[in-house]
Amino acid sequence: MLYKSSKNFLLTAFALIVLIPCSIVVLGTFKTDAEIYSTPLALPKRWTLDNFRTLFDSGGLITPFKNSVIVSISSVFITLLLASMAAYAIARSVTISGKILFFLFTLGLAIPGQVNIIPIYVLFVKLHLNNSLIGLVLVNIALTLPISIFILSAFFKDLSREMFEAASIDGAGHWRIFRSVALPLCRPAMGATGIFLFVICWNDLLYPLMLISELSKKTLPLILIDYRGEYFSSFSMLFTAIFVASIPMVIMYLFFQKSFIAGITAGAVKG
């Protein structure tokens, strides 16, 4: 009994430790600063959307939101396309070149992407890709290709060879087999990987921080860092901004919990 009650206590305690800070943020979006400081956990005295109004009237949040959406969606889409093509080629290759290619891609798993900030910066300044959303997309693709190829090629290897062989006896070329056999079969794996990539791209700070200085090109994490300075003593504004920046992820999480957990966990274990 002692075991059972201490177990329940610990489980509840940790759930509260996770949920309380999140509730403070959600409740805080409806409160004034004074209310947040004095009674962070109480329900707001008046449910108003004033904080959202102030934040959106200042116009500062819409552009970064748009930028984040553009950068994340295009990065994820292109990465999934390129990675699935490469993973398919690697999984189906019978020659040594496939193994070498796979090894080169896994090198990227071992070398942390953060250490490339200096060469990438120098290169991007030369190519005028700094302060550009295209530059961010390119960086995201390069950084997430290794892990995506790793996950997807494991998946392709599990698909039965006979199926591909049957298709090629029927006269289908590689591209055709890829499109009509391989891709439809790996839709769940692609979904989970896509979510994993989306979380990475949506939340990334380091590369945008280094590459983007123009206000019109900033993404949400960058603008939150700016707000940290600007609204240093106004947590009602900060909480509202955090809420807006997190809402797409939260909604996706509520709908696709399983793929989320599977994708992020697979990425972690294999990375």
Partner: protein
């Protein structure tokens, strides 16, 4: 093989080539504006012998990694043993615990900036209410003695749920008959944990520990959002140091040398993890 070409082109141009050029840049004195000048291994000898800041930050990062690894691994193993069975409640709790993982590090950092605030933050307010703390409260992030650990706690809050899920997947592989047999033999819960769960979960533990250690040496966002490495570099970690060496002090060559050391450390950890797994389990 042609189908791998576009991916490989982008990857080699924007990942492999930068990684290799890091090695080359680390042998230069270079401010990013004037042409780089070759100085051999001088950056490295300076790093190893003369740079107190680097040693301090390296020490910070090791302490950060230790705290995060120990707390996160033990919490997640504990909760995973509690949440092993698939029932409505356990699945719900796993979903709750996992939730912070989907937030951005910047958001998490800002939320904890509020919780840690010395005047009205939740932590000090609660501590004062139950009489654990007097005015003025502890300045968690502004005091060099606590800042690094305060960030480490935030990191544990952030990622424990993810590790719980990894552990649950690992522990569910353990055959239930083992526990049934132990039950019949009258083994206590602790004995079951010690002789079944812990040894059988070792491969998962190796994965969790290696992943968490590498995450800790890659840490940047949380530190940047919460303290920017302050006060007095007390909470600086390697990536924030590299970032500042390059983009605040404009020592590109020197920062490259620091990056090379970081890569070596991360490779070493990866190799150690692989070796542990291979030696103990014949896993390739």
């Amino acid at each position: 093989m042609l189908m791998a070409l576009p991916a490989f082109a982008i990857y080699s141009f924007l990942y492999l080539y930068p990684s290799v050029s890091n090695l080359w840049n680390s042998t230069k004195r270079w401010d990013g504006v004037l042409p780089p000048e070759f100085i051999g291994a001088r950056n490295f000898t300076y790093l190893a012998t003369n740079d107190d800041l680097f040693l301090k930050v390296l020490g910070n990062n090791i302490r950060f990694a230790l705290v995060v690894v120990v707390l996160q691994t033990s919490f997640s193993l504990l909760f995973a043993t509690f949440l092993l069975k698939n029932t409505k409640t356990t699945i719900f709790l796993r979903v709750v615990y996992f939730f912070p993982t989907i937030l951005s590090s910047v958001s998490v950092g800002l939320i904890w900036l509020f919780l840690y605030n010395p005047n009205y933050g939740l932590i000090n307010a609660a501590a004062k209410k139950v009489g654990l703390m007097n005015d003025p409260g502890v300045n968690w992030l502004g005091d060099g003695r606590y800042a690094l650990y305060a960030i480490a706690i935030t990191q544990v809050w952030f990622h424990t749920g993810q590790m719980v899920v990894i552990y649950v997947a690992g522990l569910q592989q353990i055959p239930a008959e083992l526990y049934e047999a132990a039950e019949v033999d009258g083994a206590s819960r602790w004995q079951q944990f010690k002789s079944i769960t812990w040894p059988m979960a070792l491969p998962t533990t190796a994965v969790v520990v290696a992943y968490t250690t590498i995450q800790s040496f890659r840490a940047f966002d949380l530190v940047y959002a919460m303290t920017q490495g302050g006060p007095n570099n007390a909470s600086d970690v390697l990536v924030t140091l590299i970032y500042n060496t390059a983009f605040a002090s404009f020592k590109f060559g020197y920062a490259s040398a620091q990056s090379v050391l970081l890569v070596v450390m991360v490779l070493l950890i990866t190799w150690l993890q692989r070796r542990t797994l291979r030696v103990n389990y014949g896993d390739k």
